[in-house]
């Protein structure tokens, strides 16, 4: 698709009826699209598919752990048990790899970021549309390669690939690593694209501190993607060469140092959890003020805390190695820096609370997700502080406490944030409203599902159950059964969600331009937006403020908000 074709298309077709979804319906125009909105939708579809696979694997894990000896994989005698439990190792490894590399990392920047970033900025597209498309296909290629390796011989190392076991295992580690390497490049290019877009494509008047906070979250995320992913890239290449050529860098049998692998791996993979959580925090920063009908509290503090988390996040990787023979001095430093991350995170949480304080809170679905985020993420985050403390870490290291903490932060933070954002922008993306009642039911189900799944894991972890075990002592069974029930509740919530979202695409009420009364620029264009995003380039006036809602009033006739013309902060022409 040439640039010329892109620019002439809207001219040929009517701008009133055509939007980015309908302007060209051929399959080719989707697969090779350079439109950031379509690429966002492609990312959404693929990462949701990956989430489905990863989620079903999680269901297998939770079903296995219903009984102490294992419900699915078990065997009589050592050899049979070993063979059966190896399958369990493969299942949780695959669950981890899919969820981390194919869902949590790309889903918010790839799907929602791609879709709304240029819209919020008032730009026509991201800086490098071709690179954006390549990024998507690298992601698909990497995912296919990784899943193909599973068919050939599923990796059983855990998603962390610790050496020397990952050097010696018979499974297809190299293919899996190459797949992740490609996904890593996709992540780098997405981050690079977003940074350049935010730096260079801001229209006149859109200053740094007039940007919606989601963009600050995406910006901080992109910095991590660009600065940390190459390191895991070279690490994975080294591990591949270790297996193919026997270079010995990480192989103690050849004089190498396996702890160096852990250092390299966590140098990326710890910042990677901030790649996952920062954009979710950005989404919460959008939802909370809109549904509290109140200006965001402490804008610059939230913006800067995103950057602070990104930067401090680079300096805490050693807290994964407190019991690996790291020196006591390093332990103390890493522990201190880990505590430090809690400060900007708490700054955000308190600012969201202060935004809600005395606000006119509307409990629509996105807001319910934001509230779930606040509760679950705070529990998850505080258990992270417990793990960051040296004395408690020694006890809790590699127990289910770590699993519970991580999943509370990731499911209760990233995924809840993502789903909240999906519900928030769904009318904009597809131009349809979903069934609000069902959506609220699904949200409550998901909230309780997550809490019931992962809080018992914190308890069994504290009681000493190690992570990654295919079987366990009978004393842990009540907690494990509770955890499994929670997982099934989550499954039910997701099935319900799929139902009403798909239904909304077909039968949903047509969405108005601004269903929630948001003040950022994406709400000033049609739902769904036209190919070039805005019928007229948005004019960003001197007093533009994405968190000022005073000029918007609810119009029951169209079921959305319209500008009243009083105190219009965006300058004339914004809604013309």
């Amino acid at each position: 698709m040439t640039t010329a074709a892109v620019t002439t298309l809207p001219a040929r077709r009517s701008q009133v009826t055509d939007n980015y979804l309908t302007q060209d319906r051929r399959l080719r125009s989707w697969l090779f699209t350079l439109d950031h909105k379509r690429i966002g939708v492609l990312y959404l579809a693929t990462s949701l598919l990956a989430m489905l696979i990863g989620g079903l694997l999680a269901m297998v894990i939770r079903t296995q752990l219903l009984v102490p000896q294992g419900l699915i994989f078990h065997g009589h005698g050592n050899a049979a048990a070993y063979a059966a439990y190896k399958h369990y190792n493969q299942i949780f490894t695959l669950h981890g790899i899919i969820m981390v590399f194919m869902v949590l990392i790309p889903i918010i920047p790839g799907a929602l970021g791609n879709f709304v970033l240029p819209l919020m900025l008032g730009a026509k597209d991201v800086a490098f549309p071709r690179l954006n498309l390549m990024s998507f296909w690298l992601y698909v290629g990497g995912a296919v390669l990784a899943i193909a390796s599973t068919v050939a011989g599923a990796v059983d190392t855990g998603w962390t690939f610790y050496t020397p076991f990952s050097i010696h295992t018979e499974t297809y580690v190299v293919v899996m690593l190459l797949g992740i390497f490609l996904i890593g490049f996709s992540s780098i290019f997405t981050g690079l694209n977003f940074i350049v877009t935010i730096h260079k494509l801001r229209p006149p008047g859109m200053t740094w501190f007039r940007m919606p906070l989601f963009l600050w979250g995406i910006y901080a995320t992109s910095i991590i993607q660009v600065a940390a992913t190459p390191v895991v890239g070279v690490t994975l290449v080294l591990l591949c060469l270790e297996r193919i050529m026997g270079i010995g860098i990480f192989n103690p049998a050849l004089g190498g140092n396996p702890v160096l692998f852990q250092d390299f791996f966590w140098f990326y993979s710890h910042p990677a959890v901030y790649i996952m959580i920062l954009p979710a925090m950005g989404i919460i920063s959008e939802i909370v003020p809109v549904f509290s009908r109140k200006h965001i509290f402490g804008y610059s503090f939230i913006a800067m805390s995103s950057l602070a988390i990104a930067l401090i996040g680079f300096l805490v990787w050693g807290h994964h190695m407190f019991v690996n023979g790291q020196s006591a001095e390093l332990d103390a430093i890493f522990s201190f820096l880990t505590f430090l991350v809690a400060v900007p995170s708490a700054v955000k949480v308190f600012n969201w609370l202060a935004t809600m304080y005395k606000g006119a809170i509307v409990l629509d679905t996105p807001m319910l997700y934001a509230l779930s985020f606040l509760i679950l993420f705070t529990i998850g985050g505080l258990t992270g502080v417990i793990l960051g403390a040296l004395a408690t870490n020694v006890v809790l290291h590699d127990t289910y406490f770590v699993v519970g903490h991580f999943h509370l932060v990731m499911m209760g933070g990233t995924i809840i944030g993502f789903i909240g954002g999906l519900h928030y922008w769904w009318p904009k993306m597809f131009g349809r409203m979903y069934n609000e009642t069902l959506a609220r039911i699904a949200c409550v189900l998901l909230f309780f599902g997550i809490a019931i799944t992962f809080v018992p894991q914190l308890i069994v972890g504290a009681e000493g159950m190690p992570r990654r075990y295919a079987h366990y002592l009978p004393m842990y069974q009540p907690y494990m059964v509770a955890s499994s029930i929670g997982a099934y509740l989550q499954l039910a919530a997701f099935i319900l969600m799929t139902g009403y979202l798909v239904h909304s695409l077909v039968r949903g009420r047509k969405a108005p331009m601004n269903p929630w009364g948001g003040g950022s620029l994406e709400w000033t264009t049609a739902s769904p937006p036209p190919h070039d995003n805005f019928a007229h380039p948005p004019v960003i006036g001197e007093n533009y403020d994405p968190y000022d809602y005073r000029h918007l009033a609810y119009d029951p006739k169209i079921g959305g908000y319209v500008p009243t013309g009083i105190g219009d902060t965006c300058g004339a022409g914004k809604y013309s």
Binding site: T3, V196, V231, I247, G248, G256, D532
Partner: protein
Amino acid sequence: MTETVSIGKQHDLAQRHLAHHFDTPQQQFDAGKLGMWLFLSTELLLFSGLFCAYAVYRALHPEIFRYAGQYLDMPSGLANTLILLTSGLTMALAVRFAQLGRRIGLVVCLFLTICGGLGFLGLHGYEYFTNYREKLLWGLNYNPSHGPHGQAIAPIRSLTPLTVRSLPGGVGGWASLKALGRQGFIVSHSAIAPAASGPPGIAAGQRHTVRLAPYAQPANVQLFFSIYYLMTGLHSLHVLIGVILMTWLLFRAWRGDFSPRYYTPVDLIGLYWGIVDMIWMFLFPLLYLLH
């Protein structure tokens, strides 16, 4: 030499390359440049893992680096350094010629830069080949023949710890070398004439530069060679990519695609080549000089 392009044509060229989502060619150029700088920072980070591995193993096992480094071909590394420095100059000139709209100058400079890149690869390939012949390889494959003192039998190329000139020759000369050996020095086989020419030793009266390796082979020398091949291999891959990109530039420059209003690809690939040069400027001393 100079080809002037009419202003109107230049303007057309710049507009033709302007993508729909940019307002001005300048904005597009700036975006491209920022993108390239970010990409180059990821390149540095890609290498940083290897530099980090180098630093860690050097700190843990200095003896490995002291011993193994002397088997690298320092003169060839130096020659490659000079070649890359020169190609950096020609690339910078190419960017300048592109900015000035001097097509022939641009074509010549790009050609010279490509020659530099190919020369580098050739020389480096030869170095790999000799190492391969002597089995000075990475990790598992490190398997050179060993002398009586356990030292690797391969020419010592980079280090001259002790130069003995005009040895008295014959048995006496050999004996003195053996005495040195007893003091803990190891005689490299480059000092020894081929067995066919008589007893191991040096013909009387001849001027010889005898190079001695002062250290016995420590454990895990293969680690050095792993790091050496990884760092130089990744770098050579980047040189190769650079050569391919510049061939494409050469073709486009020949066709007359570039003008003072549109020379973004030359500028960006010039930046890339600068980083490739710069990484070698760190690799050369770390691997070849610093023992």
